[in-house]
Assembly symmetry: C2
Homo-oligomer: 265 residues x 2
């Protein structure tokens, strides 16, 4: 697990407090593992309705866990104390689609017109797959999951559009069948796979060359299984090039008080 301090904790609040204090400024994978983690997108109110429609139209890559009131940095649905200005370990600041800064706190950048969106993350369904005894190659290999820009187009809304980004996990067919069953019940964290088998059918030419994350081995008898990925909204934001936008930094997710076990549909 890629953590930068030894928080041996299943407590979401302690992870948020560590992020808030600046002690935790890297990855959240494996921290508070019973808890739901989220992708974060923060946009000016003028773009918020378009982005919310984009999420509504693309629920598999962009399952909305919560949306803040404009200007309100708190998200009580995800945690009583949760302050989006400080509780993400590391942020990315985007201006006109360019990454300009990676701070660990955005209090100085906060504005009265900002709306926060928290989007479900694959950590939750991976937790369910591992609990069912399904092994995940990228975890065994100690690397990031492999992600690809597919030829599946998302449904556009306002300036937001672009390809669906998918994550891939190699599985034996019997495990793939169980994984479909398990993740179908978790629509708030990407739900059932969007594809399995032939990568070219969704525009992926070479599994060894992921667009994000790390390539993993595909072994004899395994098929690649593809899920809609929470990187998709970041790709849509890169296309839309908003004047100002804040996201979490990859892997440095928002840890919420929600429990993975409560996500089951």
């Amino acid at each position: 697990m890629t953590t930068d301090l030894p928080i041996a904790s299943s407590n979401a609040l302690s992870v948020r407090l560590a992020a808030r204090s600046g002690a935790l400024a890297l990855h959240t994978s494996g921290l508070a593992s019973e808890h739901v983690q989220g992708n974060v997108v923060i946009l000016p109110e003028v773009l918020a309705a378009d982005f919310m429609r984009y999420c509504q139209r693309n629920p598999k890559p962009c399952p909305l866990l919560a949306v803040s009131e404009p200007g309100d940095p708190y998200l009580p649905a995800l945690g009583a104390d949760l302050d989006i200005r400080s509780d993400v370990p590391r942020y990315r600041i985007w201006r006109n689609g360019e990454l300009v800064q990676e701070p660990s706190d955005i209090r100085a950048l906060w504005r009265a017109d900002l709306v926060s969106f928290v989007i479900g993350c694959s950590f939750s369904f991976e937790h369910a797959l591992l609990a069912a005894g399904i092994k995940l190659r990228h975890i065994e290999q100690g690397c990031n999951v492999a992600m690809y820009r597919s030829s599946i187009e998302t449904a556009p809304a306002g300036p937001f559009h672009g390809p669906m980004v998918v994550s891939m996990r190699p599985m034996l067919p019997a495990d793939a069948i169980r994984a479909v069953h398990i993740t179908s019940r978790l629509p708030q964290v990407h739900g059932a796979p969007v594809h399995l088998g032939d990568p070219q059918a969704i525009g992926i030419v070479d599994l060894n060359c992921p667009d994000y994350g790390d390539a993993v081995d595909l072994r004899r008898g395994e098929i690649p299984v593809f899920w809609a990925c929470g990187v998709t909204p970041q790709a849509a934001i890169a296309q839309a090039r908003p004047a100002f936008c804040i996201t979490h930094a990859p892997g440095a997710m928002l840890v919420t008080d929600l429990l993975n076990r409560d996500l089951t549909n």
Copy 2:
């Protein structure tokens, strides 16, 4: 079935064309029964973001099937030709929270700032329950489903707040268990029940006095099973009293091209 003309059709387009021409101006129950029908809410853009947040926070009563672009009367995600100004059999026009008119067409009232919301409807899950051989008392008795304002508060957003309205269907426990299983897989049309058993536990004093719809018999051995209901957003709108709002008239739903069978999670 309460229809005002004999459209013996499973074709969504023919139902919409009948509504568009004015030939169909009443209930859509039982029409195009393979197809998803939707509750309709049309609001000025200034309230649209608040209402969308209200739906996001209350996905069981307000599962969003589609949201239009501001001023755009078409909803291509629900049907290529679908025109929200004419394709609902009967509308309700609300001004400052008061019902002022029930036209069968809103072309003359259309404005460049209106945003349309289509919300899932229990007809779809009833279709799945009937297909599984579960009998529904209100259909047997030829009346509307019984609906109650519960003591469950919805999560507020902007001016929108209020009680969750629930619909109730009496079932034998074995059928209730199967109904939980079946509707859990249909989150876009209210999903799993929100309660079963004691009505008082959710603030319902007398099952014989529903707040909307018709009372039905609860027979020996049956328990009442309660689902979040698509009337909830109308109750929230009644609380918010927007200057201008359009909804469908009760029972006169929007018939979409979506198929019930494709809703299964």
